[in-house]
């Protein structure tokens, strides 16, 4: 009895001594996690290199980032991600120390301190109507020692003080249909020209005194041909425009009254290719037009004569003008030709000579050059040198100097569309890249350091040495599969249509591939990447094959745009094949069947509700036809508030005579009343989720059976009024309804209404539960609710006798057509933060308990134990319930800072969280992406199946030694004692 109680005490001690460490120690940062910062595709760049100090560049991007970069290495000094509806219209540098940003359609102007990124001032600009937003920072224009910024936005011209953002004067342009195109400041003067079109055939010019906003002159002239598109300023009092047909170039001079000069494009180039488009440039006397794929650079002479100086079939980018020595402007042209890009820098008034001509070798998978920004520096021999910042088709940013790429940034990774994973090759003889420790001395030294570390005797230098040793561990970035399944490839598809493979160990890019099927071409003007699927995951029959992924894209944003497929090998990063589809892609259903080469069958549903099977092989068709009657899917039409269930009918009939085309039929539909309910969220379980057991043993030895079905759909609807933003409705006129729908039969299994609540709803579905996050207007707080669904039809299987006599129904087939006997349990809790996305951890066998991964509005990822969202929580749990692990009920969910997966980092612009099981059951891999990327390993129930890195081997050794010593000591003691006994 004593022994038993002692053992219990011992075990209790054993468990209590393991601290519940779900979080990190500060020195563990970077061991299993990595964080990468990106910007997105640069849309404007301004250099700051005047002073002798650091050379820097300010950029604004399509991901709404404004950042200051180091020109030497391309590192980020500081960065701000503006809100998604606060799109940046323009940036510039004022006073040499402030970065000015104009955003939100020209209504917010901010100044940031250049060295540290602190916001200095912010002003709100308003105006009478929507218009183009233009930002102009005039040089040498001062009002009482104060530099000004000129902004044209929302139909109003504002002059804003650089020092405090105060509006000095404003001038409205009220003309009903006036569309201001350009605001021009002739260098060195106090005048501003505002030019634009009114009622499509009137050219208007306003001359304004920049010091007080006084209107000096207003002229307008009609041009019967009308205008098209943009204007390009060529001189300070001359602009170039196109007539409404796009065939005639107009040189508009407004120095002394407005005069038009027409030049048909066909006069300039013999073979004209239809309507042209002006590419605006700020270079004096030079502009470019584009017709189809042909770019024509045109020079304007002093007499407003036009002259073609270059005509090329290559995609050409022209930089803005860069003032070099007095009155002279330089600009750059860049073109791609095969494996190289050609960069030319010229003076504006001298086309024939090049200041600089360079060819730079460029990776084919960066595509064309989209933008170029140039900057000059003075070489040691007092001549001018130029550096060019270029933005490529894959959204990467590169700095070129002296014919070389100084640095490059893969900023395409800031806009990830979809992520999947792939295994690495199996380690074979000869492919091992493991490094053996150099010699015994090094090895010993390393271990001595580690021992010092564990005994807390290490000096700061030693600690730094240990830290770098741990981080440099070559084991984690090896290119082969590991035993625990921690090393994988993350395959990501970016908005630029580029596929990247990132290594999970340290996040380096293993390969990248610019998909031709997702590039702009003559056939397809606006290709869009949609999804990534695992196409081939060889494991049993096809071990020699490489795994591959399927990339699905479509041509244009409309729903009936034709689709495009490509298949990419994930080991080599080469495209295996690509297909341009004749049908559209509305929905993709990966089927749970594979063919003999382990290619997964995919069903593509087009806009006309035909189903197309891929791969198009006879084998795949025969597999598919066998399972034809077991395939169901649903579609959601959120505009009409309809959810429909579908099944297959048979081979296509009619004009589409294709072996792999199948007709579909509608099985059921649920129509939500459009005046009271609007669908705002639908969520299903992940297809590859593994559930360990259906049974759940609860406190008093009872068993509950989870209702586990792959065909459950969670739908959230809100009242039409409540579909707007927070603050736009009162609690009385808003409600939120949550449904659980069976997608095979269309049966509504559960429905619950939350009165006084509204969206946005973020939900996650796993096993037999769904958790959703919404806003409670009455309490004015966010809430999270959980619904768990249990199968009652199996509840009477608990009787042992029934099991013995075989009277149970465990082996009876499950059909969704039989009326399910289910019960649901639910509970709601307050949650502090707004949420951007929710995910749930997934493990290989589904044994490990689950954690919710909540992407908060602060761009952090919080891990929250599912036990906090258990509908069986009560205020005072019984002893039995406590033993089961039920936490006493609280009204809000706890936010424990240590359980932030992202610790002290932010995943700026967070959009999605993906979890992938490792081979080790306790561990799951988490990848969060937005503008930044973050990866880590997570063990929701701690690593119970393997020793952690900080397992104390020293202590184990000491213990063994101590035990051996104790045994020998007691042995000798007892020997001696026995001898004494015998002598006595």
């Amino acid at each position: 009895m004593a022994i038993r109680s002692f053992l219990i005490l011992f075990i209790l001690f054993f468990f209590s001594s393991l601290n519940p460490i779900l979080s990190l120690y500060e020195d563990q940062v970077g061991l299993v996690d990595w964080h990468q910062q990106y910007l997105g595709k640069v849309k404007q760049a301004v250099f700051h290199t005047h002073k002798t100090g650091r050379k820097r560049v300010v950029v604004s991007t399509e991901e709404n980032v404004v950042a200051l970069l180091d020109l030497r290495q391309g590192e980020i000094f500081w960065r701000h991600v503006l809100g998604s509806n606060d799109v940046i219209d323009g940036i510039d540098i004022a006073l040499g120390k402030y970065v000015i940003t104009l955003s939100s359609g020209g209504s917010i102007l901010r100044a940031w301190n250049l060295p540290d990124g602190q916001m200095v001032w912010e002003s709100s600009l308003r105006g009478p109507k929507h218009s183009k937003s233009l930002l102009l920072v005039p040089t040498n224009l001062k009002i009482e020692k104060d530099n000004i910024v000129i902004i044209f936005s929302n139909g109003r011209l504002n002059a804003v003080s650089c020092i405090d953002g105060e509006v000095l004067w404003e001038k409205d342009f009220e003309g009903e249909s006036l569309e201001v195109q350009q605001v021009i400041q002739p260098p060195g003067s106090n005048l501003i020209y505002v030019v634009g079109f009114a009622s499509s055939s009137l050219f208007e010019m306003y001359q304004i005194n920049a010091l007080n906003g006084e209107l000096l002159k207003h002229e307008s002239a009609a041009f019967s041909g009308g205008f098209l598109g943009e204007v390009s300023p060529v001189f300070s009092e001359t602009v170039v425009a196109l007539d409404s047909t796009g065939l005639i170039l107009l040189t508009v001079s407004f120095q002394n009254g407005i005069s038009f000069q027409q030049t048909p494009i066909s006069n300039l180039v013999k073979d004209s290719f239809g309507p042209a488009k002006i590419i605006p440039s700020s270079v004096t006397g030079i502009f470019a037009i584009k017709m189809n794929a042909v770019t024509i650079v045109i020079r304007v002479t002093d007499e407003n004569k036009l002259e073609v100086v270059e005509k090329t079939n290559h995609e050409t980018s022209i930089s803005d003008a860069l003032p070099v020595s007095e009155g002279q402007q330089a600009f750059a042209l860049v073109q791609r030709a095969g494996p190289e890009i050609h960069l030319r820098v010229k003076l504006a008034h001298n086309w024939d000579d090049n200041l600089l001509k360079e060819s730079v070798k460029m990776d084919q998978h960066r595509g064309l050059v989209h933008k170029i920004y140039i900057n000059n520096y003075i070489r040691t021999d007092k001549s001018y040198g130029f550096r060019a910042l270029i933005v490529m088709e894959d959204h990467s940013l590169l700095l070129l100097q002296q014919g070389e790429i100084v640095w490059s940034r893969e900023d395409g990774l800031a806009s990830i569309i979809d992520v999947t994973t792939s295994e690495l090759p199996v380690e074979r003889d000869g492919v091992s890249v493991a490094k053996v420790e150099h010699n015994l001395f090094e090895w010993l030294k390393g271990h001595m350091l580690k021992l010092k570390g564990t005994l807390m005797l290490a000096s700061p230098q030693d600690i730094a040495a240990i830290q770098s040793m741990r981080l440099k561990n070559s084991e984690k970035s090896k290119m082969t599969r590991d035993h625990n399944g921690f090393r994988k490839l993350l395959i990501v598809l970016t908005r630029a249509g580029k596929l990247f493979a990132l290594h999970t160990g340290d996040g380096h890019i293993v390969w990248s591939y610019l998909l031709q099927s997702l590039q702009k071409s003559k056939v397809c003007q606006h290709p869009i990447g949609l999804n990534l699927y695992k196409w081939q995951v060889p494991h049993h029959h096809a071990m020699d094959e490489n795994p591959s992924v399927l990339v699905i894209g479509k041509c244009g944003p409309s729903s009936d745009a034709p689709g495009a497929l490509s298949f990419v090998d994930t080991y080599t990063g080469k495209e295996l094949s690509s297909l341009s589809l004749v049908h559209s892609v509305a929905q993709v259903i990966p089927l749970p069947y594979t063919d003999s080469t382990e290619q997964r069958l995919h069903l593509l549903i087009d806009a006309d509700k035909h189903a197309h099977l891929y791969p198009k092989t006879p084998e795949a068709i025969s597999i598919f036809e066998r399972e034809l009657s077991n395939i169901y899917w649903y579609s959601v039409e959120d505009d009409n508030g309809i959810i429909k269930g579908h099944a297959l009918r048979g081979k296509c009939t009619g004009e589409v005579a294709d072996e792999v085309c199948f007709d579909t039929r509608e099985l059921w539909s649920i129509v939500f009343p459009s005046e009271s309910e609007k669908i705002i969220a639908t969520v299903t379980r992940k297809l590859n989720e593994v559930v360990h057991t259906q049974a759940k043993v609860i406190a008093d030895q009872e068993v509950m059976y989870k209702y586990i079905s792959r065909n459950l759909l969670f739908v959230a609807t809100v009242a039409l009024k409540g579909s707007g933003e927070i603050g736009s409705v009162t609690p009385e006129e808003s409600w939120l309804v949550a449904y659980l729908i069976d997608t095979v039969t269309g049966r509504i299994l559960h429905r619950v209404t939350h009165h006084g609540s509204q969206g946005p709803v973020h939900a996650v579905f796993s096993e037999n539960w769904v958790v959703y996050h919404y806003f409670n207007l009455k309490a004015h707080r966010y809430e999270m609710s959980v619904i768990e669904i249990y199968d009652q039809s199996r509840a009477d299987n608990k009787d042992v006798w029934k099991l013995v006599l075989g009277k149970h129904n465990l082996t009876s087939p499950i059909s969704l057509y039989s009326r399910p006997d289910v019960i649901t349990k639910s509970q709601s809790y307050f949650f502090t933060h707004s949420v951007k996305t929710i995910a749930v951890t997934s493990t290989t066998k589904g044994i490990t308990s689950k954690q919710l991964l909540i992407g908060t509005i602060g761009d952090q990822v919080l891990a929250l134990d599912k036990r906090f969202l258990d509908p069986r929580r009560t205020v005072n749990p019984t002893q039995a319930e406590k033993e089961e692990g039920i936490i006493p009920l609280t009204d809000s969910l706890p936010i424990i800072p240590q359980s932030y997966v992202t610790h002290a980092l932010r995943v700026e612009g967070l959009r999605g969280i993906i979890t992938v099981p490792a081979k080790l059951e306790s561990t799951t891999l988490v990848f969060a992406h937005g503008v930044d990327l973050f990866f880590t390993q997570l063990a929701p129930s701690r690593t119970y199946d393997s020793l952690t890195d900080d397992f104390n081997y020293a202590l184990l050794l000491i213990t063994i030694v101590a035990l051996v010593a104790a045994i020998s000591l007691t042995w000798t003691l007892s020997e001696r004692k026995e001898l004494q006994e015998n002598w006595r």
Binding site: F13, N19, M119, D172, I726, G727, H780, Q898, H903, I958
Partner: protein, 200 residues
Amino acid sequence: MAAVTPLLLLLLLSSAPSFSSGSRNAYNINGRVKIPQGLGTKGYALPGRMSNVKVLLNGGQNITFLRPDGYFSFHNIPAGTHLIEVSAIGYFFSPVRVDVSARNPGKVQAALTENRKGLSELVLEPLREEQYYEIREPFSIMSLLKSPMGLMVGFMLAVAFLMPKLVENMDPEEMRRAQEEMRSQGVPSLSSLLPGGARN
């Protein structure tokens, strides 16, 4: 300091009659984020560095940043009840419910949603600091002893040194019997050493 001020400038009214009516009742929300000195001296969130603090309205509908003195403002906000959140690494801020009243311009009503505390002016202070890392406990004998290995050693030592003490206090008569039994059984077992086991 906090004030909800109407945006309607007289000038705007007179000069822009075509101004859309939706913007007519647009207001500004001005407030201040104050991080007390002394907090945040533990590393990551540098004291006084406010440039990485974001203020979010209604779950990210509007995002603004702090001026050097901690002031922030949201422009063009319609009347209604709004939610302001502050995102700052290293600090926990409660979301704030802000009522912008159309009838009573200039009046601010704000309350922390976490503890329903009303605010007389819109000055937001962190409720607490957030420590993202576990703190390593310094090496100590106790932690060594409390670990499973330490317990094992302790148990062994206890058996080795305390058991003979227990045996010593036994009746010599019983002791001899036990020893005889032991010899007869050959293999000494743990149960026979115990007083309870020795009795039979």
